[in-house]
Amino acid sequence: MTAYESLGAAVRFSNVSVHYPESASPALTDVNLEIDEGELVLVIGRTGSGKSTLLGTINGHVPHFTGGRLSGRVEVMGRDIATHRPRDLADVVGVVGQDPLAGFVTDTVEEELAYGMEQLALPPATMRKRVEETLDLLGIADLRAAPLRDLSGGQQQRVAIGSVLTTHPRLLVLDEPTSALDPTGAEEVLATLTRLVHDLGVTVVIAEHRLERVVQYADRLVEVADGRVRHGSPAEILADSAIAPPIIELGRYAGWSPLPVTIRDARRAAAPLRRELAGAFPTVAEVAPPPDAPASPAPGVTARGLRVDHGGVRAVADVDLAVAAGSVTALMGRNGAGKSSLLWALHGTGARTSGRVHLADGTDPASLKPPQRRSRVGLVPQSATDLLYLDSVGAECDQADQESGQPPGTCSALLADLAPGIPHQRHPRDLSEGQKLALVLAVQLTARPEVVLLDEPTRGLDYPAKDRLAATLRRLARDGHTVVVSTHDVEFVAIVADEVIVMAEGEIVAHGPSADVIASSPAFAPQVAKVLAPVPLLTVDQVRAALPRNAI
């Protein structure tokens, strides 16, 4: 490498290892990596693989804030992070986290955009100019005086990006910026990012679980696995990475080479596959129902005229609903469309303004006392860890057995089934996101409820964890449970759901078999459906079932 080239590196890792004192194995091992100016680099890896540690080192958050021992050198724009704290890098690196609200220091959009500049002591005239520019760049000029808490998730995330952009950083680091957003909100944020890369030449490093959303924008992929890093072009890395979006799985299955990364390329490569599949499925009507079609169409839970008001806002507006027992129903819709309110109202714990909810035998869950209700309807809330308060997995399980009146060991057995190999003495906070979810689900299933409701369970889960959750939910449905799961994740819906409900403004705007509802929607269609349309298949597994041999 010549000296000239090294000038172009925005970030350089040389032999970097990070050890946290509480863990035996290093979080990062001997990382050598250069990120050039103007690149959009996507960091992928399973939960707990060291992605966040890698990103954290770029602005010195690791080790200055998290502790741990860093060996080797990380240079950001020529500054060594060992001697520069995050605040000393604030003029060159902007960091945006998963939860924008957690990082907001002020109350309104305008103040938040100015905050970083105030700390860098920029002259007020410059600040005024940059605030206006940034408001326009992100398309949020009409929100300038709005309180940050009242914005939608996508707007909040754009404000968070804007608030670090005003200091004109050369480098933007984003840790799962779209994980909490609905597909449309995620599109807004990603469009903003690509615009920054192309128009301003900002270097962007982004970590994301839902590769299907971002992989087409990436110049280079960095895969972190067990603290080790490899990098290359998207097609190169995805050819054999541990996690891959559906489009890549389809490509691997069909044996396409080079692997197409965008829908456009995949559609062009898929023409022969489509022809062959069209032979297998001449019409939409003949599409095989999902393998575990409901055994009985009897509704597991019914709502009539359900209405929920929060303050002056009507969250759920006179909803009529019947969810078949023995099926999985996905609840989709924008952030703030009323999904959570509907789930809580169905459960009976949430406030209900009017309307009625029945279980299969006509009982209204709101009329039951919490312990009895628990044995009829189980709910896994959005922040699932709120349910956990003891200091070990074993203690949580014993407590669940006790409060459900089940024989000791019930919850442990369920947990071993959902997520094998979790040590009982481990603290719940030390579990991975997927394991935490499994524990909460096990706690809720211990009471053997006939209806299981899950609010946004896929947040922070990687593909294998999502597949395992999907398999669990399918099995529950097969055993006769009624499962309703709210999610933004269209690929997850494609794997798991028999039926899809789409909500908007508190009303149900679509309710039907998932193939009908999501395949026809531009925002909600899964990648496989987009690639194979008009063949009505949604998932790679369905393709595998349709063409059992490796056809092409």
Binding site: G103, V105, D107, E111, P381, D386, V443
Partner: protein, 363 residues
């Protein structure tokens, strides 16, 4: 003109009213204070969450009055001539003199307790008014840069504390999902643990975000001069305060030493602040309206102090014998002056969340 008044102006105004309220137990005057505070808040608060929190402070004030009355009924020393109703009493040993469990309740004692509660409640309401009128976050902007570590802690506290109530609600709801609704010790743990963890996580995340955005950046290293000045200053302030409060020490010991200490502290903070350069986006100007607000508040306080010096009885509720509360003219005039900012200060900018009010102002 539409703008935010300087937050310090509102705080000085509100604290002056709180101080003025602390001098009186006269129910008419207390009611006057409450009326003035409420009137000004209603006409000059913005749409921020802090503006909406005024009601909470009102509730807190009411709870304080109620608590004081209940305490009086339970353990207070009952006195007076007008018997109201008897309560069963319990004899206590002589060493517990001054505490009376139960016993006959008299109107005078009850009134005294309620008015003491009302006085404290009014002071709390004044703090609530300051919060509602000037978000504490805006006040923290003018916090000295040299004390940025303390500043960070304050910003985190001020941001995370309002979310605490939200956390508690969410966790309590989650507990119901586990079928737990009891209110035993275990329940406390079930709520406290997740809430504390949540709060800690949020606090760390916010502190990290502030750091990552350059909060507390130094261009020059903090000199020993800064620490030396501040330390000496604090020492001087302590000694001075001791001298001021201890009546046996010589007079020269109190005020001058305190003044020197304060001056040293300010010098230290100034020296330290130069190492942490910062600018303010849209600095709140300090102009006529600010002077007016501050002087209105201080006028009310001064009126109360003058009244206290000239006719001490007028500020207290006459209890022995029971009589009508008097109406000291200076205090009334002071309160009228204190209400002036409701009309004489600029209107705060309205947020986009209140379209109907924006339209009303435009029309």
């Amino acid at each position: 003109m539409v703008r935010h008044l300087h937050p310090a102006a509102w705080w000085i105004w509100a604290l002056a009213l709180a101080a003025s309220a602390s001098l009186t137990t006269n129910p008419v005057l207390l009611a006057g204070h409450i009326a003035v505070l409420t009137f000004v808040v209603m006409s000059r608060r913005d749409g921020s969450p802090w503006g909406r929190a005024f009601r909470l402070y009102a509730v807190l004030g009411a709870v304080i009055v109620l608590t004081r009355v209940i305490l009086h009924l339970a353990v207070g020393l009952k006195f007076g001539q007008h018997r109201l109703f008897p309560l069963p009493t319990l004899d206590l040993p002589s060493w517990a003199a001054g505490i009376q469990l139960g016993g006959t309740v008299y109107l005078e004692g009850l009134l005294a307790a309620a008015l003491e509660g009302a006085r404290l409640g009014t002071m709390i309401l004044a703090i609530g008014a300051a919060n509602a009128l000037a978000s504490p976050k805006r006040l923290l902007k003018v916090f000295p840069a040299a004390l940025h570590e303390i500043g960070a802690a304050l910003v985190v506290a001020v941001t995370v504390a309002p979310q605490l109530a939200e956390s508690v609600q969410r966790v309590a709801r989650a507990r119901a999902l586990r079928g737990e609704t009891s209110l035993r010790l275990r329940a406390f743990r079930g709520i406290a643990m997740p809430v504390l963890q949540d709060t800690l996580d949020r606090s760390m995340a916010l502190a990290a975000a502030m750091d990552g955005r350059g909060y507390g950046r130094r261009t020059a290293s903090a000199s020993r001069l800064t620490s030396g000045l501040t330390l000496l200053g604090l020492l001087g302030a302590c000694v001075g305060l001791y001298g001021l409060l201890d009546s046996t020490s010589p007079a020269a010991f109190g005020v001058p030493v305190l003044a020197i200490g304060a001056a040293l502290c300010i010098a230290g903070i100034w020296a330290g602040g130069r190492a942490v350069p910062r600018t303010i986006y849209r600095r709140d100007p300090w102009s006529g309206a600010e002077w007016l607000t501050v002087s209105c508040g201080l006028t009310a306080l001064a009126a109360s102090i003058v009244s206290l010096r000239t006719s001490p009885g007028a500020l207290a509720m006459p209890l022995q014998p029971l009589g009508m509360p008097s109406l000291p003219i200076p205090v009334i005039l002071g309160l009228i002056a204190a209400a002036a900012p409701a009309l004489a200060t600029p209107v705060p900018p309205l947020t986009s969340q209140r379209p109907e009010r924006v339209q009303a102002v435009v029309a």
